[in-house]
């Protein structure tokens, strides 16, 4: 039977296949044509440390502009002025002190943001009632710009550290809540079916299926949350503060010290980049099964 169908198939396919080969042959067997490679499409080859090219170019332009006097020192200080100012500020300890104050504020704000975001996300993600109670108020809160809440928070909590940490927490918990809730709710229906056929208990289903499935969402929310925490920090420190990076910037603006402002911005950039790197590092460690996708 199998033989029969094979030979049948060959008879039918033979004419069309040979004509296909006939068309293909001249191109592949003609000597010079075979050696010619096609032009490769795409963005081009990878250059080691190529990502540094843009920032370095900016730094060079900035240096050239400052050295030739094309950039007014009162508008933008020269890179070396910023560097020496930074060194002076480290020497007298002002930079570290303010950086530490800012870091602690941001850390605690983010910490409570994570606790609140993850807890509420789990409550809303795992139970329908929880979602009805929690999700509405959070969506309303999200629709109110965070800055608009600050006057009320100042009236309620004064202008101390508590109010600053609370503001940061209020801003950071939203993305963590949303991503966790979404991760819990969008568990693949195929896996839910699988869990049913394996007769998993509710607890087993949560532990082995739902929570691991939601983890990537939570970590994505965490990445947004960390970025937002620096944003929120700038907001609370520029409104009213007597210490911290934002306070340093405000003070420098009063005295027209662009080098201090630039320095603080550079510190913000370093904080933002390194914390983002840290979250990505944690993500890689927490989701080892994903790494092989990138390999």
């Amino acid at each position: 039977m199998a033989d029969l169908s094979l030979s049948n198939g060959r008879d039918v396919a033979a004419p069309s296949r040979s004509s296909w080969l006939g068309r293909a042959r001249p191109r592949s067997s003609a000597g010079e044509a075979a050696l010619r490679r096609r032009r490769k499409l795409g963005p081009g080859p990878v250059i080691p440390y190529g990502a540094a090219l843009g920032p370095v170019l900016l730094l060079i332009l900035w240096s050239l502009g400052s050295a030739t006097g094309y950039i007014d020192d009162r508008i933008l200080s020269a890179p070396w002025t910023v560097a020496t100012t930074g060194w002076d500020l480290i020497q007298d300890g002002r930079l570290q002190d303010n950086l530490w104050t800012s870091f602690v504020r941001s850390f605690w704000g983010l910490f409570w943001g994570i606790v609140a975001g993850a807890t509420l996300g789990v409550i809303a993600g795992l139970s329908r009632i929880g979602e009805y109670l929690v999700d509405g108020p959070i969506q309303i809160k999200r629709a109110i710009p965070a800055l608009a809440l600050i006057p009320l928070l100042m009236l309620w909590f004064g202008i101390g550290e508590g109010m600053k940490i609370l503001t940061i927490a209020l801003i950071t918990f939203a993305p963590i809540y949303i991503q966790t809730h979404d991760g819990l709710r969008s568990t693949d229906a195929r896996f839910i079916e699988l869990a049913e056929t394996l007769d998993l208990s509710n607890a087993q289903f949560l532990r082995h299926v739902v929570l691991p499935a939601a983890l990537p969402g939570f970590l994505l929310g965490l990445r947004f949350g960390v970025t937002y925490s620096w944003l929120a920090l700038v907001v609370v420190e520029q409104v009213n503060a007597t210490s911290g990076l934002g306070y340093m910037i405000n003070l420098a603006r009063t005295y027209g010290q662009t080098e201090v402002i630039i320095l603080c911005l550079a510190v913000y950039a370093a904080l933002g980049l390194s914390s983002d790197w840290l979250v990505r590092f944690i993500t890689r460690k927490a989701l080892p099964w994903r790494k092989i996708l990138a390999d």
Binding site: M1, S5, N8, G9, V12, R190, F191, E193, L194, A195, E196, T197, L198, D199, L200, S201, Q204, H208, V209, P212, A213, L215, L287, P288, W289, R290, I292, L293
Partner: protein, 249 residues
Amino acid sequence: MAQDSRGLSPEPVVRVRDLTRRYGERTILDHVDLDIGRGEFVALLGRSGSGKSTFLRALAGLDHGVPGSGGFEAPDAVSVVFQDARLLPWKKVVDNVALGLGGAAPRERALRALGEVELTARAEAWPLQLSGGEQQRAALARSLVREPELLLLDEPFGALDALTRLRMQALLLDLCARHQPAVLLVTHDVDEAIHLAQRVLVLDQGRFSVDIKVDLPDEPGPRERRFAEVRAHLLTSLGVTERELRRVA
């Protein structure tokens, strides 16, 4: 109609009576009866949309909220293998096999099951590192480690290449010979159905239009003749015309 399979087997493990399922206005299963004997291997054929998956999902208890009537008796230990292997990507292969497994030493039993499907070497791998055939073998191990009395297979080899499919079919026959579950295999591949099953059903218009015993003889000559006969019968009942049959099949 060929629904007189009742009483063929002395001790049916699956007993479906008057099962009806509807999607909107369409009746997918129309008062269907079926008995499957202990250790019997049944293949279910049907055109796409004929309701063969609906029937399997009903037996698996997965058709929540699909309106219908009738009922069925099925054993407690039922395993399902889907067309996609459905391994949890965040669990190593062995932990996928052991997932939700009760009793003593689940991990050891999972490893033994992986040995049966020749996957011991990949026990500690992540599912995404496996080839399609390996993933489906892991899914088979996961279903067999539970010692099912009824094994439901929903086009389990449909997504595999021809060579891998052949090897998986041989493996499945070996495993079924060893574990002796009753099997319901849903497939659209007529040859697969005849090769694997002892009995083949065709689902058409919500009813079983064909219910035949395959019983291929052992001698090569009669075996091929019987195979061709059954095949032509099944293909015809699936709507393949005489002309199409002569031309390619």
